[in-house]
Amino acid sequence: MKIDDLLKQPSEWLKGAGPDAGIVISSRMRLARNIKGFTFSDWADDKTREAVKDLCKRQIASSNFMKNALYAEMDKISPVDNLLLLERHLISREHLNNPSGKAVFVSEKEIISVMINEEDHLRIQVLQSGLNLISAWDILKALEKDLEAKLDFAYSEQLGYLTACPTNVGTGMRASVMFHLPAVVMTRQIKDILEAISKLGLTVRGFFGEGTEAIGNFFQVSNQVTLGHREADIISNLERVVKQLIAQEENSRKFLIAKKREQLEDRIFRAYATLKNAHVINSEETLELLSLLRLGVETDIIKDVKISSLNEIFIIIQPAHLQKMRNKKFSSQERDIERAKLIRNVLGGNTKNV
């Protein structure tokens, strides 16, 4: 598979299926692993990083999970391709920095990605649509078992899997769920909820993970603690909280529909109209309006739009996607015009000049 092939189909994790696929966008499970006997990536010299990359590349490529996989070395592909992988959540922001020796494997349907020489030698992640932590974990476990048979991971009996950052040591596992919580935000409960979550050993982040803001009412909740708990307990703890959040969002939606229906419909239809007709739109406004439209679709106020189309818009309105799809480099003003065209196109609105 090549990078350009990614553009031909939407990511599997954005298909809008799976349990609670309305409120929960996706579930992600990640393991951090290092190879015994090699210096950690950030402290290693180029020669060591190359050696780790070659060793991991050989072993991962031969795994059954990686048939027809995409393999890319970050210092060999173009900046726009690097950005494209980031926009599809297949690599982290950190993976763009200091690219020497860094590489990534992406499985055929973009369910699995393995980053080589990120903060740790290996960052193995599985993405699933909807609330699907357990199935993501099953895939991840099987893949890890496969790799473990061929690679010696750094492990201590007391501290578990050893990672470059002490915040990941132990299980090396991060489970996260991406949510869309517009009604909770509208009813002004979000602050209390976020505070409560942080007391449970969980963290909340924005759409693109660590260090990003929550835009368009999208939040990512993940476990913070990795040492002293079993993987299954960490997952079920997160899942319990996730289910409470879903219930809270559902109740808030019911409240809005029962008590503020006109105001709610007004905001949703205005958002829909703007997206269908705008000729210049920046990404921030797009995400905010998409959030409202999504709420409209999920509450059956809007009936002629599919969640999967909204998910598609999310991804293709980003700069690298726009540039790749139109095969042209845009200034940020041109980008806002192209973005508006693409959205009109997907939503079947005013398609003049598309």
Binding site: N34, W43, E210, V225, R230
Partner: protein, 176 residues
């Protein structure tokens, strides 16, 4: 209040994070916050601040630990403070005296209870013909769970405590 990173400027940014009901605070000045963000080329996450937390708040202890160096990868303790990341797996041993309290602070525990490499399990079983090692690890596990249970009760996390109690019961029942 002085910045926890440079110890020179007045701290302007205050971060409180709560893990297992224990509050942990970090105070940094604007310059250090900026420098750290620039260095990481991304947001100012708590993980990036781990370096700043080591040795905090006791400066006296730090003097002794400044000389620590990992014999395997050559990382000095001061490098770890600057980078916030360890150099290699042996650093965990080399910096044990600072890392253990740090881990306790971050995770509320210093014992891994999750899955272990299968190779390791297999070789243990071969060596000890299964049973013996099972008994030992099980007892260690039960002791660990008891410790956690106690902590959960103390901090009034009764839901957690009930889960722990059930797991201890289950383990004891299956004792060989």
């Amino acid at each position: 209040m002085l910045c926890d990173i440079c110890h020179k400027n007045e701290a302007m940014i205050h971060i409180t994070e709560i893990v297992n009901d224990e509050a942990r605070e970090l105070h940094v000045c604007q310059q250090c916050a900026d420098a750290e963000s620039m260095h990481m080329n991304q947001g100012f996450g708590i993980a990036d601040l781990v370096s700043g937390m080591v040795g905090f708040p006791g400066e006296a202890r730090e003097a002794k630990e400044k000389d620590l160096k990992c014999p395997t990868c050559g990382m000095a303790y001061s490098d770890f403070r600057k980078l916030g990341r360890l150099g290699c797996s042996e650093c965990y041993e080399a910096f044990k005296s600072v890392l253990i309290p740090l881990l306790k602070n971050i995770h509320g525990s210093i014992h891994h209870t999750g899955k272990e490499p299968e190779k390791m399990v297999a070789s243990f079983e071969k060596e000890y013909t299964g049973k013996k090692i099972n008994v030992v690890t099980k007892e260690v596990k039960i002791a660990e769970l008891r410790e956690k249970l106690q902590r959960a009760v103390q901090t009034e996390q009764y839901e957690e405590a009930a889960v722990l109690r059930d797991r201890i019961k289950e383990l004891e029942k299956n004792k060989i």
